[in-house]
Symmetry: C2
DNA sequence: GGATTCATGTAAGAGGTTACATGATTAT
DNA sequence: ATAATCATGTAACCTCTTACATGAATCC
């Protein structure tokens, strides 16, 4: 239901580090994004093929003598563009914030991408505008159950915004020395 | 990705109100759970068949002269049991809390089920124990990114618990006159 | 000698979605 | 006349998962 192709972008992100074959991508994900991003290997292989079909990625077969041949994937310019565009665009479904936004922050950190503060700020703005709509709806709503439901969203989003603000302070400030 | 059969329970819940045919169930969901639970009609019809296969629900065909025949579904004892067991059991995936727990509260409200306070309290307890694990992990974690990730979960769960506490006060207290 | 690592996949299925088919009746 | 309502479904597709196949190499 899910993440409308976020997995694609995660794969592109892993290839931003450098060319890798499937098995290596999997290891990378297991090591670094372990708790945040799990992917079944069968799905990963099929996504890689699809990404190649879309020309976001290219591959060559590396034949080895003592190990099975492996197909090494690397980013195409179009893939890099798509990845960077994804990083900048705020997550619009609150439900996906944790998994998707954390993945973005992970790559900003790992790849030392510039503009991390802006990405976080954009996400704060996106959530703030959702929050404003909810608050408006709350003031009009009479039914107690609906109010309860709206308050759930309100309180959740407020917590997310608060967290994003701590992220600006602790995460990005700390990484200033990387990006300079 | 999703809700491991929560939809089944929502359908059972709708039938708790009384026997209904598919189209009516759909109308009920659109009217009452609109924003909280959307289901495509094709999926609904196939779920109803599956529920009947599991003996949670039974049906008969009601032939009409001026309208297409309709298949009217009603709850079997086994279905009622399964539904009530679902209501009592707390949601264990924080990600599903909003959609799934709100659905439970909706039915508690609509069906005037007793023990609403207990259901909320159980959910608070479940979240509190998840929170405790996260706090333990936080104290051991050194990597800044992992800490950030854990704090996201911590802050989200704290907001949910706070919300649940307001739910006890506003929602259930108000309904005391129903259940007595 | 047995388990694990390396490496890629296929097949089946779960749980959804959208688009479409059907066809009468009733409201505008 | 045409649009919406009533009523149930099929077909195709999407994303993702688990289970399984394969087979050499290396670790213990």
């Amino acid at each position: 239901m899910n993440n409308q192709r976020t997995t694609d972008y995660v794969l592109l992100g892993v290839l931003m580090v450098g060319p890798k074959h499937g098995y290596e991508i999997r290891q990378f994900l297991d090591d670094s994004l372990e708790s945040k991003w799990h992917i079944s290997s069968s799905q990963m292989y099929s996504l890689l093929k699809r990404l190649e079909g879309k020309q976001l990625v290219k591959s060559f077969l590396s034949v080895q003598t003592k190990r099975p041949s492996k197909r090494v994937y690397s980013l195409m310019p179009k893939g890099k563009e798509a990845f960077l565009a994804w990083i900048e665009q705020p997550v619009m479904h609150v439900r996906n914030l944790r998994i998707e936004f954390l993945a973005k922050l992970f790559f900003i950190d790992r790849l030392c991408l510039p503009g991390g503060n802006q990405v976080i700020q954009k996400q704060i703005d996106a959530l703030s505008s959702i929050l404003a709509k909810i608050q408006k709806a709350q003031s009009l709503e009479r039914l107690p159950f609906e109010k309860l439901s709206l308050r759930f969203r309100q309180m959740t989003i407020e917590a997310h915004i608060q967290w994003l603000k701590t992220a600006v302070v602790e995460f990005i400030e700390q990484n200033k020395h990387y990006s300079r």
